[in-house]
Amino acid sequence: MRQVSVLFGGAAGDGVRGSGRLLARIMSRYGWRSFVYDDYQSLIRGGHNFSIVTSRKDEKVLAHWSRVDAVVALNQDTIDKHKDRLRENGVIIYDADRAKKLPQGVATVAVNASTIVREKRLAPIYRNALLMGALLKVLGVPLEEGLKVYEKAFGPETPNKQLLQQGYTLAEPPVSFNLSRGSAQPLPVLTGNEAVALGLLRAGLKVYLAYPMTPSTSILHTLAALQDRYGVLAYQPENEISVINMALGAAYAGARTAVGTSGGGFALMTEAFSLAGQSETPIVVVVSQRPGPATGVPTYTAQGDLAFVLNAGHGEFPRVVLAPGDVEEAFYMAADALNLAWKWQVPVVLLIDKHLSESPTSVEIDEGRVTVEEGKVVRSREELERLGLEAYKRYLITGDGVSPMALPGIEGVVVKANSYEHDEWGLTTEDPVEISRMVDKRMSKLPHIVEDLRARGPVRVWGDAGSRKAVVSWGSTKGAILEALRLMGGGFKFVQVRVLAPFPGEEVARELEGADVVVDVENNRTAPLADLVRLHAGVRVDGRVLKYDGRPFTPDELAARLSEVMEG
């Protein structure tokens, strides 16, 4: 076996998300790569949560598969809901105190997990370790790998270690998958949100402000937990409007700043997003999508905010919208976002979704590829004099539209930023000549931004470069598309659009030129990417494969739908 999928299921609060991630880490130590899908509801206790971990020996895995080899059930509900996902020769590992009805003809491993933890006077969440022990035995993964990860995650004194061992020893599985050790180096397991947090930090983030909103909240959690180690600030103001206006104040003062939210929170921020455009204040807004409109479905996934993000904010101003497709790209592109914001003094949106934000994945990250691009920041009188700018103008008209940005606090220098239309000094103006000059100045950055983005790979091509069938998509669908490509044994070219504004029309046109069939894949109902491709690349898509039920595509489902559209 070179690939295995395990489903952990239980009620909210049972700890299934934790188990999914721990298994991914154990498999990583064993030389396997993993992808974890967490399906949970917007409640704290009860309901039904599950995690699917798909692991592959030696090679990356970028999506979870819907069929699984093992189900680890903390309750009866899990078995009832997921027994049909089991492949032939699949195994159910379950808490025999909490589940009694098992399907016929399926291999099972019963563990009296509730009784054991109760006897030890431990909380029910410790059942996970017992079942994980039994699972490792079924998988054929050495107990030692599990013990190492548990010690790292919970400390040397944790009762989890002993329970893991007990589960491993007690279990007498009727089958073993005999997974063999991979040769790949152990890799960290990160969610997209953690990667965003680390990418921003690496690129010099000093202030992160956010109001809690699923699925973006764990960026705030990650940075709040790391802020003392890095001497930075992660803070939660009273609402999203305060968040972004405070962020603009911090950025004006000279701190590299980002904010994070989901669609609804970004809706509240849009007036100040436009202020960032007008005042040319560098800011990164991370928008992690969930199904809308309104409250929508908070803990599920969607790509329904693309048109909104591209058009958010009143008035005309340049913006950059980046859409990483996986956790590794989330790291590098979060760093790009901060660098682009400061280099071009424009608002930058990093557009992700729940599926990318919250799916732990084995990743290989080389932080050496990221540098801090300062842009035209001026920190001292001497720097200004070197630039020949003794009389400082915040909005000086320059060749590339970007003015030197002096930080307030320099002796003899006055820095005036303004929400009103303004002249080069930053003073309010209503003069028609000044107005058009300033609009032109801001918009003149665009061609330079396009050139800059070109060097960062606005479009990536995967699969059969020579194929006359093409799939075009953006964001987290990348994982399922690449896995579907693998499942179908190739047969198409995948054009991944990583920059959505300014749209890389030339690159997309070049890649789609000559394709007989172009299929647009998106996690939404109205296929906004297809419209952008038509508008900017002049290519009409032939088919749309869309999904808008709050769930991400799985490779098997997507492969079937792609085959249908491409053959049809």
Binding site: K206, M246, G254
Partner: protein, 294 residues
């Protein structure tokens, strides 16, 4: 330290109505700054003024110091962001009554609650003047604006009581026709460590000219116990503006520093932040965190 003489005028043509209370506020603020510079207590480059939207907001164009022209209602978040990023700066906000107490009231309560180390000066003229006069949160009940021609059906908010009960550590009331009083109060507010709120009673000569009303009503308090919240609240509550500005005023209105106490500001808790976050663009390594996630 060397005193840098900065020309405080920008030379920008002032567009306020002749006789507007804002002229007094601008003059007093410039005088307060100049005195603080001359006394060596503040350096010009430390000052950042943030203006909201409304007549008052134009003030950023008239003073030659660092400034940020914010959105309507959002002076306070911008002020606090500036201070978080660079605690060496002294952000001073200018906000209007509609601006800060209608559109942006949540920020006011929260800035006071966390005792953010910023100063905010409220230009309270009891109406939205720039949009040709509509009611605001401080318009008296019965006030006839163009959106309430039959009279404002709501009771006004008392900003000083709100500031005091929300946690502000410096609360003062002053009058836009008394430049000397304003200057003293502004200086104290700027030097206060913590959330300093200054309520300026500002006549709007075009739409709601309180000049005579306030001249008769206002009296200076001195010798009050500024450490007593009860006494401060008592003074703060003495504030009645007649919707028809009938004279003589029904009640007299005290002005002065009502409250001044030392209390930790929220950013004192950020002990791990060493030095300004602004201006530091050195790359950091996240390698160790990645290693921990293996």
């Amino acid at each position: 330290m060397s005193v840098v003489k900065l020309k405080l005028d920008t030379g920008y043509k002032i567009t306020w109505c002749p006789g507007c209370g804002n002229f007094g506020i601008l003059a007093a603020f410039k005088r307060a700054l100049q005195e603080l510079f001359d006394e060596g207590r503040v350096r010009p480059e430390e000052i950042v003024v943030v203006g909201g939207i409304g007549c008052h907001g134009n003030i950023i164009n008239y003073i030659n110091v660092n400034s940020f022209g914010a959105l309507h209602g959002r002076v306070l978040p911008v002020l606090q962001g500036i201070k978080l990023a660079n605690p060496r700066l002294r952000p001073v906000g200018f906000a209007g009554d509609g601006d800060m107490l209608d559109e942006g009231i949540s920020h006011f309560i929260h800035a006071a609650k966390r005792n953010a180390d910023v100063t905010v000066i409220l230009h309270d003229n009891h109406n939205f003047a720039l949009t040709t006069s509509q009611k605001t949160a401080t318009s008296p009940r019965g006030f006839k604006g163009r959106s309430t021609p039959m009279g404002n059906p709501e009771e006004p908010l008392n900003p000083d009581v709100l500031a005091l009960t929300s946690g502000a550590t410096f609360v003062a009331r002053t009058f836009a026709r008394d430049i000397g009083h304003m200057t003293r109060v502004f200086k104290e507010a700027i030097m206060h460590r913590g959330f300093a709120f200054v309520h300026v009673l500002q006549p709007c000569v075009t739409w709601f000219d309180t000049s005579k009303y306030y001249r008769e009503a206002v009296y200076k308090v001195e010798g009050n116990d500024t450490s007593s919240l009860e006494e401060a609240l008592e003074l703060a509550r003495r504030f009645y503006v007649d919707p028809g500005l009938r004279l003589p005023p029904r009640e007299r209105i005290p002005i002065g520093v009502f409250y001044r106490v030392e209390r930790p500001v929220y950013s004192d808790s950020f002990t791990w932040v060493r030095g300004p976050l602004a201006g530091d663009y050195s790359p950091v390594s996240v390698g160790k965190v990645l290693e921990e996630l293996v």
